[in-house]
């Protein structure tokens, strides 16, 4: 059974406008807009690296990279 | 030509007769002889079928005002051209008309022009060459015959520069015809 891949999500707080598109497009509910209307990464462990959030972020605020385990 | 060496020519007729080209050819000839020229014309839709006017100023020195103000020679080949652009002449102005296509203008007299030379230009062209082609060049021949403004050979060179080879022979003959008509004016021309 292949080992589950893990991904590192980088979020640029300065560029993010908390629009919530990443929340809408993420198939794994990794993100949410919190009670303060702020972008939050709540389930990073569930990320499958599909890049949907990266490609749909209008503000270039997200990158998702695979973490290579040695 | 007046004493300041300025010669002013106005030609008028209808668009397509090649009067503008005629004025350009004479301008080229004058330049070849080291003279200064300004050539102009009325422009626009009316130049293509309607009444047209071509003007040429030739001088031995710099020409400041480029348009004709007091023509030495007015050559008209249509009644409408003469009517529209025949004003602004003076006792200095020799007027040439094509008597075979125009009625003798009653408004010209000894008081308002230097003289009127009525020559049957088109009918002579047709009888000689069966064509009106070369009307503009025949007119140049008449102007040359009257003024000797440039050397005839220079004028021939300028004609050759601008007329296509297949029509050159006819046009050279038309040029000669124009000059002949002036020489023969005592017999055929009507002068006032």
């Amino acid at each position: 059974m292949p080992e589950k891949k893990t991904f590192k999500i980088t979020h640029n707080r300065n560029w993010c406008k908390n629009c919530g598109i990443c929340v809408a497009v993420c198939p794994k509910k990794v993100y949410e807009i919190d009670r303060n209307d702020r972008h939050a990464i709540i389930n990073p462990q569930d990320c499958i690296g599909c890049q949907m959030c990266v490609e749909h972020c209008p503000d270039f605020a997200l990158t998702v990279e695979e973490v290579k385990n040695e | 030509m007046s004493n300041d060496n300025r010669f002013e020519l106005r030609m008028t007729g209808s668009g397509g007769q090649g009067l503008i080209l005629g004025s350009i050819i004479l301008a080229e000839a004058a330049i070849m002889e080291g003279k200064i020229v300004t050539q102009s014309q009325v422009y626009g839709a009316e130049a293509r079928g309607g009444t047209t006017k071509a003007e040429l100023v030739i001088s031995n020195k710099h020409i400041a005002y480029p348009k004709v103000t007091d023509p030495d020679l007015l050559a008209a080949v249509t009644n409408e051209g003469l009517r529209q652009y025949g004003g602004g002449i003076s006792r200095k102005t020799e007027v040439v008309i094509d008597s075979s296509a125009m009625s003798t203008p009653d408004f010209l007299n000894e008081e308002n022009c230097r003289g009127l030379l009525a020559l049957p230009i088109r009918s002579t062209l047709i009888s000689r060459f069966r064509s009106e082609l070369g009307l503009n060049i025949a007119l140049l021949g008449i102007i040359e015959g009257l003024t000797a403004i440039v050397d005839v050979e220079t004028l021939r060179k300028a004609v050759a520069m601008h007329i296509k080879k297949q029509f050159l022979d006819l046009n050279m003959k038309a040029l000669d015809l124009g000059m002949e008509m002036v020489e023969a004016q005592a017999k055929t021309g009507i002068r006032i």
């Binding site: 919530g20 809408a24 497009v25 749909h56 | -």
Partner: protein, 264 residues
């Protein structure tokens, strides 16, 4: 997407939260990256409007022109230096209203430039007025009772004018969008991509389209791939927008001694 394609010092961008322009720009930069174009030879030219600010966030030569006038400037650049990849970034208003005449003539001439229309169905920068691509009955600030006019089909317009490449895509389908941008850029001749994006601030709000996220994901519901649409009946396609490649033909360059390409 290569991060050095962005002028990071100019970010964050001026667009509203949830604006689709950044998504189209992201796809465009990704397409340029995937095509491995020499970044020194890429010029982005834009007009006026929200989308036309996009080139200034990129690290390429960028020319922000006047409202509607990006295409003639791009034409001048391309003809002056045919080695360059010249991409026009325009909006639906900029490109099809005030710049509509330039658009059809560039298509007719088949100038080898790519026009990417950031289509959000309204004028965003001036406050959400109707554009020539605003759908009929839609509410905008200049159609408060619903748009009485019919919109252009931009792809058909370009095709009718002689464009040799025309495609439509939506920002939800980013891979599809990138793919068609790549085809458009590499196409020899005039190419246009109608990139349907969202304006949540005006068009979305006035027409009750939901949040930015909903506007993005809803494209799944009202956009149909051309290959799928071909198997559907007209009734099934009512209210749908078809995305895909509509024109991709070889350009026919008239043999002209004066054409700069031949001279080079």
């Amino acid at each position: 997407m290569r991060p050095d394609f962005l002028r990071s010092e100019r970010l964050p961008n001026i667009w509203c939260p949830g604006c689709g322009n950044g998504i189209v720009l992201h796809a465009l930069l990704e397409a340029i990256d995937q095509l491995q174009l020499d970044p020194d030879k890429v010029v982005l030219v834009s007009g006026i409007g929200c989308s036309s600010r996009a080139p200034a966030y990129t690290a390429f030569d960028n020319v922000h022109t006047l409202h509607g006038r990006a295409i003639p400037v791009a034409t001048g650049i391309k003809l002056a230096n045919p080695d360059l990849t010249v991409i026009v970034v325009t909006g639906d208003g900029d490109g099809s209203a005030i710049g509509g005449n330039h658009l059809i003539h560039a298509a007719r001439r088949d100038v080898d430039i790519t026009v990417v229309v950031f289509n959000n169905y309204n004028y965003g920068m001036t406050g959400g007025q109707a554009s020539p691509l605003t759908p009929s009955t839609s509410i905008t600030t200049t159609t408060p009772n619903g748009n009485l006019d019919r919109p252009f089909d931009l792809v058909k317009l370009a095709a009718g004018a002689g464009a040799t490449y025309a495609a439509r895509s939506g920002i939800y389908f980013t891979r599809h969008l990138i793919d068609h941008l790549k085809k458009a850029i590499t196409h020899d001749g005039f190419s246009l991509v109608d990139a349907v994006a969202q304006c949540p601030t005006y068009f979305g709000r006035f027409n009750k389209k939901g949040s930015a996220g909903q506007m993005v994901t809803s494209q799944k519901d009202w956009m149909v791939l051309k290959s799928v649409a071909e198997k559907r009946t007209p009734e099934e396609l009512v209210g749908k927008i078809i995305i895909g490649e509509f024109v991709n033909i070889e350009r026919r360059t008239p043999a002209s001694a004066g054409a700069p390409k031949e001279q080079a």
